[in-house]
């Protein structure tokens, strides 16, 4: 399959972030078109396109929008989720830093469709300082041309956007954690139901959409639902950005119609494994996705096929691990990440993620016990489906899949107190764990 340049059409142009470059390529015509349509028509168009959320959950976007009640007592809000922090994911950054107006136009159309109040927020992770500055500048340019502010495009719709910077919390990428953070609180997720579409930020109906999802919207309005469905397969439609990192020769963001083959992506487009070593495992959808072994990677990268294979496409953050990586070390690092990022509200996640990290730490130090692998599975069972939000479920993904598929590495750590021969432990056991 050949790569395409649909979402990434503008990113290589000189001065790609400028509004003039964007308008010259036909930008903001979709916003004008959508504002002249009825809001019900816009929602139906997005439903027909079968666009699914690109933040990780893959929820149908049109359906999410249709849950928003009209005439609710409190104002409706659109929140753009630019808190890209899932390990292995770096696609939203490309749109934010190189084609910000695509995102802004997507937000204008989406806000109109859901009946948003005159202010929307882009929740961008605090570390993306450069990205925040690019967005602020782009918003200024749009305001200057009357594309944001009062009576945009002369349509009678008032709409403005504020960039709200996060401050270093992965859990604020969870939609209700994000909502709490916009409200100025600790970013601790809420119990659902009620779902954000009914009660969200500041008590009103709220739609939280990922950057890439919103970036698809102007293209759908411009070219139609059938055009969007011509990419990919039924229920898995549209152009898709894939992030490949880890032990490949050419890591980076690649754009394909939804459903490119994972094996082809790694070996043909990314040049294969560094040093021409053997592949050991692939994580297809960000840190939360269960690992796939080399004999399981001959599949299309879309939501349904990867789910059928026992994993998830998630944020399309593909991490490639080769024969030199110690799986226990890799899973320890991911467990440490989840333990650190757990917001602490609920016992299964707060205690469970920390216990999993301790067990994996003990295994790495040669203090593992025979029952540790099964203990990890048992613990995962106590966390999965029992935590307040999906972080608990995410944390157990790498643990369960690695114990099931690489049990030999765990057992080797118990009996031989070292990594499998030929594999390397990357962490430094003698350095204090120092993530603050």
């Amino acid at each position: 399959m050949d790569p395409i340049k649909i979402l990434t059409a503008n990113i290589d142009k000189p001065d790609s972030t400028s509004i003039d470059t964007y308008i010259a390529a036909g930008g903001y015509e979709s916003a004008k078109k959508a504002l002249a349509m009825k809001w019900e028509e816009v929602i139906q168009l997005v439903k027909d396109s079968e666009l699914r959320g690109r933040g990780g959950a893959g929820f149908p976007t049109g359906m999410k929008w249709s849950f928003v009640p009209r005439n609710a007592p409190r104002p409706t809000y659109l929140l753009c989720n630019a808190d890209e922090a899932e390990p292995g994911t770096f696609k939203d950054r490309v749109i934010i830093e190189k084609d910000p107006h695509l995102l802004l136009e997507g937000m204008i159309i989406s806000a109109y469709a859901i009946g948003s109040n005159p202010m929307a927020y882009i929740y961008i992770r605090g570390e993306f300082h450069y990205g925040a500055m690019v967005l602020i500048k782009a918003i200024g340019e749009a305001r200057a041309k009357g594309f944001l502010g009062k009576n945009i495009f002369g349509s009678g719709f008032d709409f403005d956007i504020t960039v709200h910077r996060g401050a270093g919390a992965y859990i604020c990428g969870e939609e209700t954690g994000l909502i709490e953070s916009v409200e100025g609180h600790r970013g601790q997720p809420r119990v659902k139901p009620p779902f954000p579409a009914v009660v969200g930020v500041f008590g009103g109906p709220t739609v939280v959409n990922n950057v890439e999802t919103l970036a698809c919207v102007p293209l759908i309005v411009k070219n139609g639902a059938d055009w969007f469905k011509s990419f990919g397969t039924p229920k898995n439609t549209g152009p898709k950005l894939y992030c490949v990192s880890g032990k490949v020769k050419k890591p980076g963001v690649y754009e394909f119609p939804m459903g490119v083959n994972l094996k082809e992506l790694i070996y043909d487009h990314c040049g294969g494994i560094t040093g021409d070593k053997q592949l050991k495992a692939v994580i297809p959808g960000g840190a939360s996705a269960p690992m796939l072994k080399p004999d399981e990677i001959d599949l299309p990268l879309n939501f349904d096929a990867v789910m059928k294979a026992g994993s998830m496409l998630g944020s399309a953050g593909i991490i490639v691990l080769d024969e030199t990586v110690c799986i226990v070390d890799a899973v320890w690092r991911l467990s440490k990440f989840f333990a650190h990022e757990s917001c602490g509200q609920c016992t299964p996640c707060r205690e469970g993620t920390n216990w999993m990290e301790s067990i994996l730490d003990r295994l790495e130090r040669g203090e593992g016990r025979q029952q540790d692998a099964d203990l990890l599975l048992d613990m995962s069972d106590n966390i999965g489906g029992k935590s307040l939000c999906a972080l608990g479920d995410a944390a157990i993904g790498p643990v369960i899949s690695s114990v099931k598929k690489f049990r030999d590495e765990y057992l080797h750590h118990v009996t031989h107190k070292t990594c499998l021969p030929g594999t390397k432990r990357y962490r430094r056991l003698d350095m204090a764990v120092g993530a603050h």
């Binding site: 300082h129 270093g168 409200e183 100025g184 600790r186 120092g434 993530a435």
Partner: protein, 176 residues
């Protein structure tokens, strides 16, 4: 876990010193007033205000926590609760250059720990400590969203991608 978060919540260092009064300088005050206009209530302006505090003074002192509470009609405990939740808000003074080394999975398998260990050795600090000359603080961080150009080190606001021990040394020469 973190030396940048004081261990004892009741320690004297967490209480504001009544002798130290603190106020935004005029340009920061103007930015604060603008921030307030963009949110429907004062509490929602808390995160941007804390970023402004950090930009103005380099860290968030107990005096700043109380000051922000007054500005936004929030109790200092509420403000402190938010400060302590987010990784980017520093509760102790840090060096002129925060060296944030990502060691999450993609960076880890691209030898990020080599850079992290080298920095601690070369600068004679432990993780999260600041050098005696006040120039550098070394911190290990989670995924920075730049895995395709791993390993990545963030120095204050800037991302430095495709790093190595050699490139880190060269960068340190420029950061004085």
């Amino acid at each position: 876990m973190a030396d940048l978060h004081p261990a004892n919540p009741y320690a004297k260092e967490n209480f504001p010193d009544p002798a130290k009064t603190i106020e935004f300088p005029p340009d920061a005050k103007k930015r604060f007033d603008n921030i307030l206009t963009r949110y429907p209530n004062k509490e929602a302006a808390l995160l941007p205000t804390l970023h402004l505090v950090q930009e103005t003074w380099g860290w968030i002192s107990p005096e700043a926590v109380h000051y922000v509470g007054e500005l936004l009609d929030l109790s200092p405990a509420t403000v402190f609760g938010v400060v302590s939740f987010y990784d980017m808000y520093d509760q102790k003074p840090v060096g002129k250059y925060r060296l944030r080394v990502c060691t999450n999975l993609s960076c880890m398998v691209s030898n990020a720990y080599d850079i992290y260990e080298h920095l601690c050795e070369r600068l004679h600090v432990k993780p999260l400590e600041t050098t005696k000359d006040g120039l550098y603080t070394v911190v290990e961080v989670e995924c920075l969203g730049s895995c395709g150009t791993a390993p990545v080190v963030q120095v204050n606001n800037d991302y430095h991608e495709n790093m190595s021990v050699e490139r880190m040394d060269a960068l340190l020469e420029k950061l004085k």
